[in-house]
């Protein structure tokens, strides 16, 4: 619930035409400008072009490149929380933001974006934020739209009307549900490496052996860190045996680490750092910052699996994501 100085209002905009999108977004932005509120747009290139063409020049709206912002959920959360904190420190009473995930987020990586959409209801609630998340219903799969309705309290319609979502599910409950990520097609082939109870060092060695110079230095270093943390966590917090498997394809390396435990108890695990890092809680978050996709398969009787993906040629440093 939004109060004077905090509270995240998190709305969806499910549009089926450019006119529909603009009929919602433009009044939202103009309202922000009129109220003197920091107003941020993070849309794809085409939608941003439509908005820019309508807004008056020099209006003070901040445009962020949506494709670059929405690279990884943990980095978006970090970046937006820093942005919100800066605005609040500068005296902002409320911040408005409209964003749209790239359509590539609607496929095999949707599970972590669904987690993002659920989590930010709570994770941005420290700040006075009104956000709108745009989804083009012409190209968005129904399974994604179903999650959108469960992770946003309402859809905003043209003319200032709202459509409440009775399916809305509180973040902790949504995140705590067993969620089976889509399998990566590479996993249909035998793994290039298949280790039982490896040490973190042995796991890193196996990744170095199988990646075939596929990954650049940055992607490889990130994957080595992620694998090491996943194996360490499985040994430290999970239940044996720990199994690590790795697959390689033309454009990516996929690694799964399984144990027979229940996985992290914290439903928000990986999206924010927990504690001060000395007693654990940072490793899974760093994994989310360094990998191109992290899928958590938990809540199943056979145990817990974390799947890590590094994509070649898709790198920006974690520090500026």
């Amino acid at each position: 619930m939004m109060t004077a100085n905090r509270g995240h209002r998190h709305d969806a905009v499910c549009y089926d035409s450019d006119e529909h999108l603009l009929a919602v977004v433009v009044p939202f932005l103009l309202g922000g400008i009129a109220a003197g509120e920091p107003t941020v747009v993070s849309l794809g290139e085409r939608a941003e072009g439509l908005v820019r063409a309508i807004l008056p020049p020099g209006d003070g709206v901040t445009f962020l490149a949506g494709g670059a912002v929405y690279a990884r959920p943990a980095s978006v959360i970090r970046q937006y929380r820093n942005l919100f904190a800066d605005h609040v420190a500068a005296g902002a009473g409320r911040i408005r933001i409209i964003g749209e995930l790239p359509s590539t987020a609607h496929g095999i990586t949707w599970d972590w974006w669904a987690r993002y959409e659920a989590a930010v209801n709570e994770l941005y609630d420290d700040f006075p934020v009104w956000s709108m998340c745009a989804y083009d219903t012409r190209i968005t799969p129904e399974v994604v739209l179903a999650d959108v309705r469960r992770t946003h309290r309402r859809t905003v319609l043209p003319g200032g009307r709202h459509l409440p979502h009775p399916e809305y599910t509180e973040p902790a409950a949504f995140l705590g549900e067993p969620r089976r990520p889509l399998p990566d097609p590479l996993q249909q082939a035998p793994p290039r490496a298949d280790l039982t109870d490896p040490s973190p060092g042995r796991a890193r060695e196996a990744i170095r052996e199988v990646h075939d110079d596929l990954l650049g230095r940055e992607a490889l270093d990130g994957m080595l860190l992620a694998v090491s943390e996943a194996v360490s966590n499985a040994h430290r917090h999970g239940r044996g045996p720990v199994r690590m498997r790795a697959w390689t394809g033309a454009d990516r390396v996929v690694v799964s680490v399984s144990d027979t435990g229940a996985g992290p108890a914290d439903p928000f695990a990986g999206l924010l750092p927990a504690g001060d890092g000395t007693a654990g809680g940072f490793g899974l978050w760093l994994t989310h910052l360094f990998c191109d996709h992290v899928a958590l398969d938990r809540g199943r009787p056979e145990g817990y699996t974390i799947r890590l993906t590094a994509v070649t040629g898709n790198r920006t440093t974690a520090s500026n994501r």
Binding site: R78, G201, S228, F290, A318
Partner: protein, 270 residues
């Protein structure tokens, strides 16, 4: 100061097998004698198989080239071990060797008896690090010998990882002196199994800042966790300095930024 014909080195030799040690020690000493260095041998309880060989061959070398010591002459048995006094003694011995016309001093010393307790180990590792720094620029080489069967793997790891070279397997990383007291060299991998060892070694290294900075040369470091970086941050906070880490690892700068480790400055290489 003249430098030895061979590159000065500081090597840790942890032995289970006495015979393997004997062969290696003989080769190390012979190389020094061939290079015109003075050699010292300080045997331990189990590492005595070199003395006879060395003394039998002494007439083949210039007078004074071979010296075999009773351990108590080199490492005083009375009172607590004094790292500074020991360092000073070896510096003087090196200078004496050069003054006597040798190209340097080469030492094989079994120091097992010096590290039997935790306080002894702590003091001796500090000394090992400090003498290693001296060896970076002076014509002194040493093979530091430890009986693993007596000391155990952990103590051996603490000793081995401050040497530039070691035969001790399973030492995850090495942190040995750079060319100045500001610089240290970090190689290998600092992961979950090594974080405690890393924090321990970091404190013993006693780096001296210049303009408020110490430099970790991590050009050949293969891996480090965020907890390894947190150890560097704690070191920076306690000593009120900045740790500069030079590394090609692409994860280090993002981790330092994400964790807000303001005591660390990353120089990314490559």
């Amino acid at each position: 100061m003249a430098h030895g014909a061979s590159s000065p080195e500081h090597t840790c030799w942890a032995y289970d097998d006495h015979q393997t040690f004997v062969l290696h020690a003989r080769a190390f000493l012979h190389a020094g004698l061939t290079a015109g260095e003075q050699v010292w041998y300080v045997p331990g309880r189990r590492s005595s198989g070199v003395t006879g060989w060395l003394l039998d061959g002494a007439p083949d070398w210039p007078p004074g080239a071979v010296r075999v010591f009773d351990p108590q002459e080199v490492y005083s048995a009375a009172g607590a071990f004094d790292p500074v006094a020991q360092l000073t003694a070896y510096m003087a011995a090196t200078q004496d060797a050069v003054a006597a016309g040798f190209r340097g001093l080469r030492v094989v010393a079994d120091a097992t008896a010096m590290v039997r307790t935790r306080p002894q180990l702590d003091a001796f590792v500090r000394y090992e690090y400090a003498i290693g720094r001296y060896m970076r620029t002076a014509p002194l080489s040493a093979l530091c010998v430890y009986d693993r069967t007596e000391l155990g793997d952990r103590a051996v790891a603490e000793l081995a990882c401050v040497h530039r070279r070691t035969n001790a397997g399973h030492v995850p990383f090495q942190m040995y002196p750079g060319r100045t007291a500001r610089d240290t060299v970090l190689t290998g991998e600092v992961d979950g199994s090594a974080e405690d060892l890393f924090a321990t070694v970091l404190e013993r290294a006693e780096l001296h800042p210049v303009a408020g900075e110490v430099v970790v040369h991590a050009e050949e470091l293969g891996f480090i966790t965020h907890r390894g970086l947190l150890a560097l941050q704690r070191h920076a906070e306690r000593r009120e300095l900045t740790v500069v880490i030079r590394t090609p690892l692409r994860t280090v700068a993002p981790m330092v930024g994400a964790l807000g480790l303001t005591g660390i400055r990353v120089e990314s290489l490559g």
